[in-house]
Amino acid sequence: MAKNRLIYGASIAAALALALAGCASDQPSANNSGDSSSGAGNAAGATVTMYGTPIGDEAAQWEASWEAWGKANGITIQYTGDRDFTTNISTKIQGNSLPDIAVFAQPGLMKAAVDTGKVKPLDATTLSEVKKNFSEDWQSYGTVGSQQYAVPLDAAVKGYIWYSPAQFASWGVSVPKTWDEMMTLTQTIRDKTSKPVWCAGFNSGDSSGWPGTDQIAEYVLSASGGDTYDKWVSGDVKFTDQPIVDAYTALGKILLNPDYVNAGFGDVASINSTAFGDVAIPLASGECALTNQATFLQASFSTAKTAAGATPKVAPDGDIWAFMMPPVAGKATAMGSGDFAAAFSDRPEVQKVMAYLASADYANSLITVPNATFITANQGVDVSKEANPLLAGAITTLTDPQTTFRFGAGDAMPAVVQQAFWRGTVDWINGSDQATVLGQMQAAWVDA
């Protein structure tokens, strides 16, 4: 029997040894890869890992934007998209499982990452590209202290009012030039159709409410100007102060008015249950006359149908088009968002990729990706290469030094305040008292 016991013991030991060997075979060289290439200086055949928010089709389009360059330079950029990037990047940074390049959509989050000391400052070549191609506003989003850490990649302009040029022609109305004209236009359309005019969708999973907070922020920026907006973002102007109260009151005249919303979906409360991209459907079918959404709403029209059953044509004379939200007061303002690439590694191939991402070449490659709706704030971009006139207009807005551009207020605020801002706006649509809701948002600053 001692013999049997020995056999079993040996077999178990063998199994364990095999299991360990299986694990061990996963590590060809000691410790992190890339050490081998760092000495050579020649980046050919190298792999650079990249981690960001875009997933699915957007990820594929993003990969297409650098594919040709990567092939020509022998660098493979291995991109991983993650819907929960915002939370998971913190875990990965703490656990030292760092991508070579991370793409942040919120400057605040990027600054938090820089504070861990693991983000590498831009090298000289990349830095000179950034300085050459981006306005000071855009440079500042990637700056912590006096050090530049991030390269702005793509951008989005928010505050477009989508409408149907064909419907406008049949009603005999034209695009409004001011906020007041837009309110008059709304009443005119209401009188002609006796149906709700605007549609809106605030539902976006965990971040439900952002389409509403964007509209509030656009109004604040337009009505009160950049200085007040900046003070609001930094917490010096309170949510309960007049500029913000005015914005809610003004937008409430549209969003809380059952005569004006929610075209194609139902009553005012249905705004909260409607997925934000779904507004494209009633807009395309003609049930909804106006909706406020960013440039990326265009992606949603590919699956929508017009009343006749065709795919809507997005053009100034087509089924769908958009104008910038008309200014409430004074000069043109634009609010938007952007993505920023920061590097966790200073290997030569990573620096090479970063320098490329900051270049005008990349900007041109980005806006010419087929079927994509990317735009950029890179001033070296050749706008004439953008086939879509709406996006070309957005790029012109972004690169025009005369436009007051600001980052979306929520994204620039601390995360807890942003959440309260989102939640409060959802409650506001559900009928909660405006003053109470604004007070709750302001209270979130205590935790920030």
């Binding site: 079993y8 178990i12 992190n32 997933i55 957007e58 030292n96 499982s97």
Partner: protein, 310 residues
């Protein structure tokens, strides 16, 4: 003999329970619960065959008024790529799930046998300690485990474990298996221990008197008797790992991502393709369904194991 009296005493309530549960009212109640429980899944299934327009504009129940059937959701889902194809993601899921279900069972069985039938000092304290480990939430493990995998372990300059190369973290699977094994072991050991400990002492003693050592007792006596528990635990663990998204997003990146990660990407950044989730869900559910139905008879027996004895 005390067991005998206990049996006759417990027999009557047991029969009454049986009568209550098999009454027509109970049956009707069970049917209603089953229908209500299944209805959302049924709606999802029906939706997966509806055109994208219908899904986004009306509820699934309107299907009966305007029946329109299409396979385009399935076609689009199968065509979907997010760095890797759906087929590769399914293969990744299988590659992750099988070892992540088998390793904890093998280790858990050995540990459970030792804790149940080998008398050593501190055995009970050890068992309670392992049982208590179940309260450690998985989320707490993420950062320390990542540090372990990337940095390795060294004690006083001696490299016990050098850590995984960055390349294997984004292409290999070992780190996912190890993570799932670590989080599964406390429950595995607990469940398997209970099942092994329930084997009558007389059976084990008889085997030992016949000359069997621990190895033979383990393979010839303990293993066959614990089969239902092993199978039911295998289903638990398989479904848990198959449905896992958290470990997958933290410990894989891109090339080795499983189907759950793919599903979460399916609707697109702006959620504009959320209607594809209907088809994606049913594609992802096929493998777990096969496993469940294949092991189902063990599952029910495993859940009941020990409950009707005596």
């Amino acid at each position: 003999m005390s067991t005998l009296t206990a049996v006759s005493a417990s027999h009557r309530p047991h029969r009454r329970t049986h009568q209550v549960l098999s009454s027509p009212w109970a049956t009707a109640g069970a049917i209603i619960i089953a229908v209500v429980w299944t209805l959302p899944t049924f709606g999802l299934f029906l939706s997966s065959f509806r055109p994208a327009d219908d899904i986004t504009t009306s509820g699934w129940w309107t299907f009966f008024a305007h029946p329109q059937v299409t396979l385009s959701n399935y076609a689009q889902t199968l065509d979907f790529t997010s760095g890797i194809s759906v087929i590769k993601a399914l293969l990744n899921s299988i590659t992750i799930t099988l070892p992540a279900a088998i390793i904890p069972i093998v280790l858990g069985l050995l540990a459970a046998y030792a804790l149940a039938w080998i008398d050593f000092k501190g055995r009970n304290i050890l068992f309670i300690a392992i049982f208590a480990l179940q309260i450690v939430p998985l989320q707490m493990l993420l950062v320390p485990l990542l540090k372990l995998y990337t940095g390795g372990v060294s004690v006083g300059g001696l490299h016990l474990f050098p850590g995984f190369a960055a390349n294997s973290l984004s292409n290999g699977f070992a780190q996912v298996w190890i993570t799932h094994t670590m989080s599964a072991l406390p429950l595995a050991i607990f469940m398997l221990h209970n099942s092994l400990a329930a084997i009558p002492t007389s059976v084990m003693e008889a085997a030992q008197i016949d000359g069997a050592g621990h190895g033979q007792v383990f393979f010839r006596v303990a293993l066959p008797l614990a089969t239902p528990t092993i199978a039911s635990y295998a289903i638990f663990q398989f479904l848990w790992v198959w449905n896992d998204l958290l470990v997958a997003t933290i410990f894989t990146s891109g090339q080795n991502a499983p189907i759950t990660k793919m599903l979460s990407d399916l609707s697109g950044v702006y959620g504009q393709q959320w209607y594809l989730l209907t088809a994606g869900t049913f594609l992802a559910i096929i493998v777990p369904l096969i496993v469940f139905f294949a092991l189902q008879r063990f599952f029910v027996r495993g859940l009941l194991a020990g409950s009707t004895k005596g």
